[in-house]
């Protein structure tokens, strides 16, 4: 692990860095220093203190070769540039004393290579690999774009968050300005969200405004990341302070987060519902739910009507009974109780209609049409706007009773009388 950083004065716990690297992409329990390192690498908000900077660097340095490998595996030409560049850049930022000059160099160079595209990315990679403390933080921030391509979203955004805390405002702003100009914008989701999150807060540069726009777009992703980061930061806090108060804080935080998640889920479902409902331009929850309820009722009625009409039409066919009534019964059991009753009626209808006279069948159809007209004339319900038919439940049920009551009267059919419509069929 330390082979990459021979000149670094590391503390003994280098083994932790072995854990940090993979931890960048996963949650990884680590040694005593790990909790201090964790926020560095976690997504979202990070709280890191100055004394941990030296440790941050070797991890980043260790990352760098892995990044390089991934890049090469992607077959990017940049990797070759990166290797060369790495060699030249590697030794420079190793010490804190060089940090500030490196930052200034970095940003001047960043400004200079804005338009270079891929080569820019390679320089960013170089920078990230070497970061000292804040230098590394600053470097990692623009590196987010490349890291994203290498599927290091989590790490990059966490690094970015760290950089937000330590990077100078100017540095962050300049780096942020250069990032959006890359072609990687399309690929930037969480990483850019993370980057912009920090940049927006630390810098007033022009780039930060762009970042803020993207931030709004990616705020949801950032929120999810920040949630996880909050968990980690809570753990860190707890370990650092360690007391009942932190436990309470943690419980409250957890509660807040779970509540937020719940609300997010509900909002998601509301959006999906809104898409299903036609011509729904309402945005507030209550009216949307209202519309959903009405639409659902009208849909149920429509389906019911269609079943009724279809089965009756089939009965009228000289071909005799089709499979529809049977299916209607089968489907009815799985559907709305209204439909259930109607389909029971229709099944009985099918049984009876085969025996009834054509006159009766015609009468039934007339009833159906009358009911349809009746409903059309009663355009009170707003659900009528959804369908051409103006469905009013009571009328529909009246129609049922009327339609099937007449034939029941004539046929004295026992089964048809078993449903609730019987009460009105007298």
């Amino acid at each position: 692990m330390n082979q990459y950083v021979p000149d670094w004065n590391l503390e003994a716990d280098t083994t932790d860095f072995g854990g940090i690297l993979p931890m960048a992409n996963q949650k990884n329990p680590m040694g005593p220093d790990s909790e201090l390192e964790e926020p560095l690498w976690r997504d979202g908000l990070v709280v890191m203190h100055g004394q941990h900077h030296p440790r941050a660097s070797p991890t980043i340095a260790k990352l760098e070769p892995e990044q390089r490998q991934r890049e090469q595996s992607l077959g990017r030409s940049i990797s070759s540039i990166q290797d060369d560049a790495t060699a030249s850049w590697y030794p420079s930022p190793l010490h804190d004393s060089l940090e500030k000059e490196f930052c200034s160099e970095f940003f001047s160079e960043m400004a200079g290579i804005d338009g270079l595209g891929p080569s820019n990315m390679s320089t960013i990679d170089r920078y990230v690999g070497f970061g000292e403390t804040s230098a590394s933080n600053v470097l990692t921030a623009p590196r987010n774009s490349t890291l994203h391509l290498q599927e290091n979203n989590t790490m990059s955004s966490s690094i970015c968050e760290k950089s937000q805390l330590h990077a100078q405002g100017d540095a962050a702003g300049v780096a942020g300005a250069s990032v959006p100009k890359h072609a990687f914008e399309t690929a930037l989701t969480s990483s850019s969200g993370g980057a912009c999150f920090s940049f927006g807060r630390t810098g007033d540069q022009g780039g930060s405004s762009q970042c803020q726009k993207r931030k709004q777009r990616d705020v949801q992703v950032a929120e999810y990341q920040s949630e996880e980061a909050e968990f980690e930061s809570i753990e860190a806090k707890k370990a650092a302070q360690g007391s009942i108060s932190t436990r309470r804080t943690r419980a409250a935080e957890v509660h807040n987060l779970s509540e937020r998640r719940r609300r997010d889920r509900i909002n998601e479902k509301m959006k999906a519902l809104q898409e299903l409902i036609p011509h729904c331009n309402k945005t507030d929850k209550a009216s949307m739910l209202d519309e959903a309820i009405e639409y659902l009722k009208s849909l149920q009625l429509q389906v019911q009507m269609m079943w009724m009409g279809g089965s009756m039409a089939q009965m009228m066919l000289p071909g005799g009974q089709q499979s529809m009534p049977g299916m209607a019964v089968g489907v009815g059991h799985a559907c709305v109780p209204l439909m259930h009753h109607a389909l029971q009626s229709s099944s009985t209808t099918s049984q009876t209609l085969s025996c009834t006279s054509p006159a009766l069948q015609a009468a039934m159809f007339r009833n159906l049409m009358q009911s349809v007209h009746l409903q059309e004339s009663h355009a009170s319900s707003s659900s009528s706007s959804y369908l051409g038919l103006h469905h009013v439940q009571p009328h529909f049920q009246a129609m049922n009773r009327y339609a099937f009551g007449s034939h029941m009267l004539q046929q004295n059919h026992p089964t048809a009388c078993e449903n609730t419509h019987k009460s009105g069929s007298g």
Binding site: R262, R263, R265, I266, K269, M270, A272, L273, L276, I277, D284, K285, A286, L289, D290, A292, I293, Y295, L296, K297, L299, Q300, Q302, V303, M305, M306, W307, G309, G310, M312, A313, Q314, M316, L317, M324, V331, A334, C335, V336, P337, A362, F365, R366, L368, M369, V372, L387, G388, L389
Partner: protein
Amino acid sequence: MSSRRPRSWQSSSASRITDEQINDLVSKLQAVLPEARIRRSDRVSAAKVLQETCNYIRSLHREVDDLSERLSELLASTESSSAQAAVIRSLLM
């Protein structure tokens, strides 16, 4: 009826949409859903109800499509002058 919970994100000032109201609507929605009549549990979350509603609406859409298809077939097979055809046409709109 107003339940003012001390939570910061409750929008009780501008939009006047209280949680109570929303819960009311959700329970109404639940009442319209088919399974609700069979098992009615008070602790069904709004998310679940919304999910069920979406699923139900989709299934109803499918059913309407199916029925429309069948009705149109029927219409094609019957004489266009009968009352029956008129009914079918009105159903299909």
